[in-house]
């Protein structure tokens, strides 16, 4: 039993690196990533599981980090938007899906973008054969207020095509 007010050590692998900090049970994975680990790329748009901005991957599965406790993720592998691209010296290289988002201007204010990226990378990994209509449906748990979604769908569709070609 973890005490409500006594911080406990939470450790997991984030973006391939071990991370650890002390926190109480009520801290969500989102707040833990953002405020205890300084990984502020994961965003909170509603804190009640509707907007999808906080989507991260836990053990490869896309989940709402606002509806997951940090203590529940203890011992897991967590992937966030910060880990998508690759580091090359002083430069960060965009992940192919990030590149497609850039090319299609699939973001404006960018607040929803990390959630879309993490959900979409998972969706395409699970099924690269998604059609555009299926992508719209599959991404319907992520809200965007700026783009009208069409460029997001286009970016994901082209990324899925790349994944299909790579697998073929």
């Amino acid at each position: 039993m973890l005490d409500a007010h006594e911080p406990t050590q939470v450790s997991f692998t984030v973006n391939g690196k071990p991370e650890s900090a002390r926190t109480t049970p009520r801290t969500t994975l989102a707040d833990f990533l953002r405020h205890d680990l300084g990984l502020t790329g994961t965003h909170l748009g509603c804190e009640h599981g509707v907007c999808g901005a906080c989507t991260v991957r836990v053990d490869g599965t896309a989940v709402r980090s606002c509806l997951t406790l940090a203590v529940q993720a203890h011992g897991s592998t967590v992937d966030t938007v910060e880990g998508l691209g690759e580091t090359a010296g002083a430069e960060d290289v965009l992940h192919p899906l990030q590149q497609k988002f850039w090319e299609h201007q699939a973001l404006q204010c960018g607040f929803c973008t990390p959630g879309f990226l993490m959900a979409a990378v998972t969706a395409v990994e699970e099924n690269p054969d998604l059609t555009r209509d299926e992508i719209r449906e599959r991404m319907s748990g992520n809200l965007c207020r700026c783009t009208g979604y069409a460029p997001i769908v286009a970016a994901i569709a082209e990324y899925a095509e790349q994944v299909r070609e790579a697998r073929a």
Partner: protein, 811 residues
């Protein structure tokens, strides 16, 4: 040089995006200073009540709580405020950081708890005891205007914030002579922007310097610099406002908010950084709201469809306070004044009343009045076309302003400087199914249990308004922008942008404009914005102005830096600067391409080798450019929606959406497309889904995103966009604003499409959002089946007597 060559006009990828994509954007909640405290608010649980007692002692004892504030703590150090533009008769109630004496709407901040964490602050909210005596809630905007209504603000004579009549001409005569008069009564629901990033503030007061640094999610940082100084009694030069990334704003973040001022005040009193990040419930309760208008309108037409006159009666539900400094009346006034739109309307009378009610304040939101005005006009036109047996496009064609009539002064005094009003419609019609093809599609849909409809909407939109809009009316809002362009010693270019963006790509468009007007490559330019201590003044993003005004300022600065570069080059090359030209970072002698100097070489000389230059030469390669923009420039466009209405369920499916937009010269068509698509999405949201639902007691029933319905991907169509580029003759770059046109046109296009579908069965809907319930009920009632429930249709205001020829478009 033609401005449509070079970097302007290209679909350049945005410079803002890589860091955001990599998760390295910096939004308000992404920065937490050392020793930062966290705030939460007790908010009004009821719409209208006297505060009889507040007990904060128990909350103060909660471990981790540092302070608990009420109005008594902040009022001595902070002036009250209200948005009173210089409109005759406009009144409003005083607003303060925390509710003082009375609570005026559900969600109004009453008590502020500051603690070591947000969670602890929220825990302590439950220990605050708030005693109150409920008063009669003022909820319905029309009932609010009744003499017997309870008053929202005791110090005001009534709940009427503003009343005005707009338009000119002998309307009575026009209606008397009309072959047909058609009247409709419509309403739009109360909306809110739902920027994905909620509002938020990190305030850091330095008592030694008496300076306040505020990082916040706003679209008007310089305005807030002025306002925080004014309200908190600080020197404006000691206030620094930081906005790196802002996660959407849409007009909603252009205001002074109680909770944000309170956060600043708490930091001053506590001498520590204080952070308040809004949660979504707070957002739906307390962000400014919009679109809550009821409109009755009547059109007088001749037998040939020529419009003879228009009249309208508008009631706008302004909510509890007149938002500072933009006021509660801007939306209502735009509904009344924009209604004549792109049509030749000889006489018009629009009567507006803005009511004060116990709801969160109403203010500007993308489109500001246009969506409602256009909805009123375009539904009226479709109803008139049905009445006359005319094709809706043909009725519009007969009344749209012709090119030869431009510039055109509308019946409400708006000057349309240029445009393509008729051409836009024709181009749009070419994108749509028609004739036998359309009939076939309607028949096919019917077999699937669906009614197919096509709806049109033509419009003009106010963009880039000047100082007449706010400054002349007394508000602390500038209308001009400044941009600094600086060539660094290595020849790279820094652009300091006075007006930051919230996703519009302003850094990218500024770089494109500077590239062309300075003569360097886009890739050599870095753009900085979001720190009032660093950048020159900008008024912020509002009213589709930045592409016009900020770009003008950027061009102005770039041109002057170019002159200085050429003067230096002229000296070094010993030629007349007038014989030099610059492009892609190289200065050449015209007609002698082998004689040239790189901008980098000139920059090196101007910085380090100034001994090679004569003393009278201006060597500073840094210039602040400014541009005030026009009084206003109008864009125009035409939208069409194709919908299928499920007869069984009343669900509306958008199967196609096409639009023609004329925003003048396009700086970056990809960015403009994005603005249009996003605006259309919000417009469709309003037409079909979005509704802040206040019950009869003034309680808000839609305070989560499970109940306030924004469109998701599957609900939205791909938007097909055609651009026309009629340059504005009155703006520096020929640019017109583009940010709001999508939101302006979409509700009417969708609404007309639904009514086109329903008209096949003799039904119509008049109120937005067009919920499945409203559709099914309209179909049932058209078929003679009445429903037991009272109709879900707000009352509309009565139009003055129109004579005996009235054909009512609504029941």
């Amino acid at each position: 040089m033609s401005i449509t060559e070079g970097w302007v006009g290209r679909r350049v990828k945005r410079v803002e995006d890589p860091k955001i994509l990599l998760g390295r954007g910096r939004y308000a909640d992404d920065v937490t200073p050392a020793r930062c405290l966290h705030a939460a608010f007790v908010r009004a649980p009821v719409a209208h009540a006297l505060i009889t007692a507040i007990d904060v002692e128990a909350a103060k004892q909660v471990p981790g709580v540092v302070a608990v504030f009420t109005a008594d703590d902040f009022n001595p150090m902070c002036r009250s405020w209200k948005g009173l533009l210089d409109w005759p008769g406009l009144v409003g109630g005083d607003q303060r950081p925390l509710a003082t004496g009375k609570m005026h709407y559900v969600g109004e901040p009453v008590v502020m708890v500051v603690a070591e964490s947000r969670a602890v602050a929220e825990d302590a909210l439950e220990s605050v005891t708030l005693d109150y005596e409920e008063l009669a809630p003022v909820v319905d905007a029309i009932a609010a205007l009744d003499a017997s209504a309870a008053k929202v603000h005791d110090e005001l004579p009534s709940n009427l914030a503003f009343e005005g009549t707009f338009g000119t001409g002998d309307v009575e005569a026009a209606f008397a002579e009309a072959a047909v008069v058609v009247e409709t009564g419509i309403s739009t629901a109360r909306h809110t922007a739902v920027a994905l990033e909620p509002r938020g503030v990190v305030a850091e007061y330095d008592p030694a310097a008496k300076s306040l640094t505020v990082r916040l999610s706003t679209q008007a940082p310089h305005m807030l610099q002025s306002v925080f100084a004014e309200l908190l009694g600080l020197r404006e030069s000691n206030i620094r406002v930081l906005t790196d990334e802002v996660g959407g704003a849409f007009g909603m973040k252009a205001h002074v908010y109680s909770d944000e001022v309170a956060t600043c005040a708490a930091s001053i009193l506590l001498r520590r950084p204080v952070k308040w990040i809004q949660d979504r419930v707070e957002s739906l309760q307390s962000d400014t709201q919009a679109r809550d208008e009821r409109v009755s309108a009547a059109l007088a037409v001749a037998a040939d469809g020529r419009i003879l006159g228009l009249r309208s009666e508008v009631v706008s539900d302004g909510g509890a306070y007149s938002v500072y400094p933009r006021s509660m009346v801007t939306e209502g006034i735009q509904v009344a004044t924009i209604m004549p739109g792109p049509y030749r309307i000889p006489v018009y009378s629009g009567h507006l009343r803005v009511a004060i009610t116990n709801k969160a304040p109403l203010a500007v939101y993308r489109g500001v009045g246009h969506p409602v005005a256009i909805l009123a006009m375009e539904t009226l036109l479709d109803e008139t076309a049905r009445r006359l047996g005319l094709d809706p496009a043909e009725l519009r064609r007969r009344n749209l302003i012709a090119p030869a009539e431009l510039p055109y002064t509308s019946v409400t005094g708006q000057v349309y400087d240029s445009g393509s009003h008729q051409e836009s419609l024709e181009k749009l019609l070419a994108m749509l199914p028609s004739g036998p093809d359309l009939d076939k599609r309607k028949a096919e849909a019917r077999e699937r249990g669906r009614l197919l409809g096509v709806g049109l909407a033509c419009f003009v939109e106010v963009t880039a308004p000047g100082v007449m809009f706010y400054g002349k009316r007394g508000a602390p809002i500038t209308a001009h922008d400044q941009v600094e362009v600086r060539v660094e010693a290595d020849g790279s270019v820094t652009v300091l942008l006075g007006t930051p963006g919230q996703g519009q790509g302003l850094q990218t468009t500024a770089a494109q404009v500077v590239a062309d007007h300075l003569g360097v490559s886009f890739d050599r330019i870095s753009v900085v914005s979001g720190d009032t201590a660093v950048v020159p003044h900008g008024t912020g993003v509002w009213a589709s102005r930045s592409a016009v005004v900020s770009s003008g300022a950027a061009a102005s600065a770039a041109r002057e830096v170019k002159e200085r570069l050429l003067a230096i080059a002229g000296h070094l090359l010993e030629v007349d600067p007038a014989d030099l030209e610059i492009g892609d970072g190289v200065v050449r002698v015209a007609g002698a391409s082998n004689v040239h100097l790189e901008v980098a070489e000139l920059a090196e000389v101007a910085h380090f080798r100034t001994h090679r230059l004569p003393p009278e030469l201006r060597i500073g390669l840094s210039v602040v450019g400014e541009y005030s923009g026009p009084n206003v420039t109008f864009n125009n466009g035409a939208h069409a929606a194709v919908v299928e209405v499920e007869e069984d369920s009343g669900l509306v499916h958008l199967v196609d959406y096409a639009c023609v937009e004329d925003c003048g010269v396009l700086i970056n068509p990809e960015i403009v497309d994005g603005q249009i698509r996003g605006g259309v999405a919000q417009g469709i949201g309003g037409a079909l889904f979005e509704r802040l639902y206040y019950d009869e007691s003034g309680q808000l029933l839609t305070s989560t995103l499970l109940d306030y319905l924004m469109p998701t991907g599957p609900e939205l169509p791909d938007v097909r966009i055609t651009h026309l580029e009629t340059p504005s003759p009155i703006t520096m770059l020929g640019v017109k604003g583009a940010g709001e046109a999508g939101a302006a046109g979409a509700p009417a296009a969708v609404h007309n499409a639904v009514n086109d579908a329903l008209a096949a069965l003799g039904a119509r809907v008049w109120h937005e959002p067009i919920s499945p319930e409203r559709v099914v009920r309209a179909l049932d009632e058209a078929a003679g089946h009445s429903w037991p429930e009272p109709p879900d249709t707000p009352p509309v205001p009565a139009l003055p007597h129109l004579g005996s020829t009235v054909e009512k478009g609504h029941s």
